[in-house]
């Protein structure tokens, strides 16, 4: 309520509110982060990227294997094992044993929870009754293909297992392979472990190549954009010429020329070719920024060209540069995998996802998991980076600043 006596007194200026109000608003990056968080797909991508990085960096430390460790006896084991129980002790102290037959007719002794104990030697084969015999502690285990299993069973196990006179018609259960969590490959190497090392390789190649691309591309693009005129024309025509041939071809040519297939040659090949995209982008950014008034102000102050580029132009172009960098990574990963896949990438025993896929092609029919797993790894990684990059692009777009 208005108090007539008191309220109609003038205020001296010291009581008035601070005239120049300064609003605390978000810094550039905080605002970008806020917008990124709202985008579900981008967050999924970000989580995927973090998982893949952790997988590659930290994962191998938890693996009991090294990527080149091989036990040829234990090759071709799938991640999920159909097992037949052969012992049945009621005594809780003793373990029960199971057997698993793989697609090459090898029989393995499996523990209750899925550990592979040993491979059992095949003693004889009786073709007349379609039976294979294996030796277990002196006793014979018969794997019989002659009996057709009953119609209720719809799986693809078409044999029975007999031990000590007990015939087991169906697989007792399906256990997860605890020795090789994602199975073993044709040389008995743990696929999970190789995937993790593969992650390391793929990510290292991708990040280093992306950084090299960044440095070359940003330098080239900013000089071209800043100089303008004939210089810019010439530099961009060179880029156009390079770009007219699919970049993958250059990489292949380089790899063939270099003749040594290891991580560093791939990085070299990728780094010296893919910068053209970044250069074009940076040049475009520089062109649009260099006529802005704050750049003109720097010129009127006599600031050197180099400082104008490094202090004024590039920091304001960092958004699109970052997006481009994020998108370069999946390209590099995919290219590296592709190179290894066609055989000019990393050489054995290197565990790159591409080489893994390459080695698994011939086994597609019998052991599809060996091709599926590295492909999945590549797919998830590339997709995650793409989601993230897309989300970053939207978050950095100043025109979408609403609310």
């Amino acid at each position: 309520m208005v108090n007539k006596m008191r309220d109609f007194k003038f205020i001296d200026s010291s009581k008035k509110m601070d005239k120049e109000q300064i609003r605390e608003s978000l810094t550039y990056w905080k605002d970008v982060w806020r917008r990124l968080k709202k985008n579900t797909i981008a967050v999924i991508g970000l989580i995927g990227v973090i998982i893949v990085i952790l997988f590659g960096v930290v994962g191998p430390m938890f693996s009991p294997y090294y990527f080149s460790d091989q036990i040829t006896d234990f090759s071709y084991l799938t991640p999920s094992l159909d097992v037949f129980q052969i012992t049945d002790t009621e005594d809780g102290d003793l373990e029960n044993y199971f057997v698993h037959l793989n697609n090459d007719y090898r029989l393995f002794l499996i523990s209750e929870d899925g550990h592979i104990i040993e491979r059992l030697t095949r003693t004889r084969v009786d073709r007349s009754i379609w039976t294979y015999y294996y030796d277990y502690e002196g006793e014979e285990i018969a794997v019989d293909y002659s009996r057709r299993v009953g119609d209720e069973y719809t799986g693809d196990i078409d044999y029975t297992v007999t031990y000590e006179g007990v015939e087991t018609l169906y697989p007792t259960k399906t256990v997860w392979n605890k020795t090789y969590l994602l199975g073993s490959d044709h040389l008995g190497r743990d696929i999970l472990c190789r995937l993790m090392y593969g992650a390391r390789i793929s990510l290292t190649v991708a990040f280093v190549a992306a950084i090299v691309n960044l440095i070359i591309g940003v330098t080239y693009g900013s000089i071209s954009g800043f100089k303008g005129g004939a210089t810019d024309n010439l530099m961009m025509r060179i880029v156009d010429i390079i770009n007219s041939i699919p970049l993958v071809i250059y990489v292949i040519l380089l790899m063939v020329l270099l003749n040594k297939s290891n991580m560093w040659t791939i990085i070299l090949a990728l780094g010296t070719v893919y910068w053209v995209g970044m250069a074009r982008l940076v040049r475009g950014q520089i062109l649009s920024l260099k006529d802005l008034e704050f750049v003109l102000a720097a010129r009127t102050l006599g600031v050197s060209q180099g400082r104008i580029i490094s202090r004024h132009l590039i920091p304001n172009a960092i958004g699109p540069i970052l997006v481009s960098l994020t998108m370069m990574i999946p390209t590099a990963i995919f290219t590296e995998a592709f190179l290894s896949f066609i055989g000019i990438g990393m050489s054995a025993p290197a565990a790159s996802w591409g080489t893994m896929a390459n080695e698994a092609i011939s086994l597609l029919e019998k052991y599809p998991y060996q091709l599926l797993l590295p492909s999945l790894a590549i797919g998830i990684t590339v997709l995650s980076f793409n989601f993230l990059g897309d989300g970053l692009r939207s978050a950095l777009d100043p025109r979408l600043r609403k609310g």
């Binding site: 120049e20 608003s25 008034e293 704050f294 102000a297 720097a298 010129r299 102050l301 006599g302 600031v303």
Partner: protein, 329 residues
Amino acid sequence: MSKREPLLEVRNLKKHFNLGGRGAKKKILTAVDGVNFVIYKGETFGLVGESGCGKTTTGRTIIRLYKPTDGEILFEGVDLSALNEKELFPFRKKIQMIFQDPYASLNSRMTVTDIIGEGIETHNLYTGEEKQERIYYLLETVGLKREHANRYPHEFSGGQRQRIGIARALAVNPELIICDEPISALDVSIQAQVVNMLEDLQNEFGLTYLFIAHDLSMVRQISDRIGVMYLGKLMEVTTSDELYDNAYHPYTKSLLSSIPIPDPRSSMRQSRIVLQGDVGNPINPKPGCRFAPRCIYAKEKCRSEDPELIEIEPGHFTACHFVKEINNI
């Protein structure tokens, strides 16, 4: 009247932009096409005109953001038009610029300290503690506070940003400041603050201004003398009072009469000259007076011969063939 010292003399300044095309189809934008004027030390010279008249280009050419196509820019006797970047460097301290858009004229990635300090660093004027003190001093001079030094531009309002821009220009102790539409983008109640501040700074530091604007009333307020441009040429130059009370050029007259008068009762509205047609095109201009297509007094001579900027009366220059007849002098 005591002889005043010319600080800047612009002679036959031309700036053309090549828009492409060859031979007969060549398109040249004659943004500034032969401009002559003098600015004396300590005065404010206003440069007005509508869009396409070349006033901004003139300002930017003088400060050598562009290389002139022709003509001379004499600053304290030295011709800046022929110098290369290295030779220009010492002059960068002496001539500075304030820009129009408070949102585009500050690098949003730099702090206020960095923005104001850049000139000081580039010319090595102060270092360390001294430099910081100088920055604080500049901030306070333009009406901001020390605490603002570590903030970023987006935390300030339009008027405050413009002040930061002014502080940046002052940091190198210039003699001449080219103000390129410094208040056009500000709110009306802030414009007066900035204009007053510019006047105070001029008195305190002995500055000379080239004030480029399209708001005639504001230009009159702050300027001692005014030049009116149209399509790259100067139409009239005289003192601001004389221009308003006694304009001779037909363009100036219609320009003045077009200004909306903030008084509904004013009788001046009746004598308004409303120009027909649009502001012309500075690309490949036709010969003759640039204003001829819209001028009610235009005759044959106007369409073939370009009028020179002549001193009709002491200190009053006009570029019009028939200025005497039109004004009965």
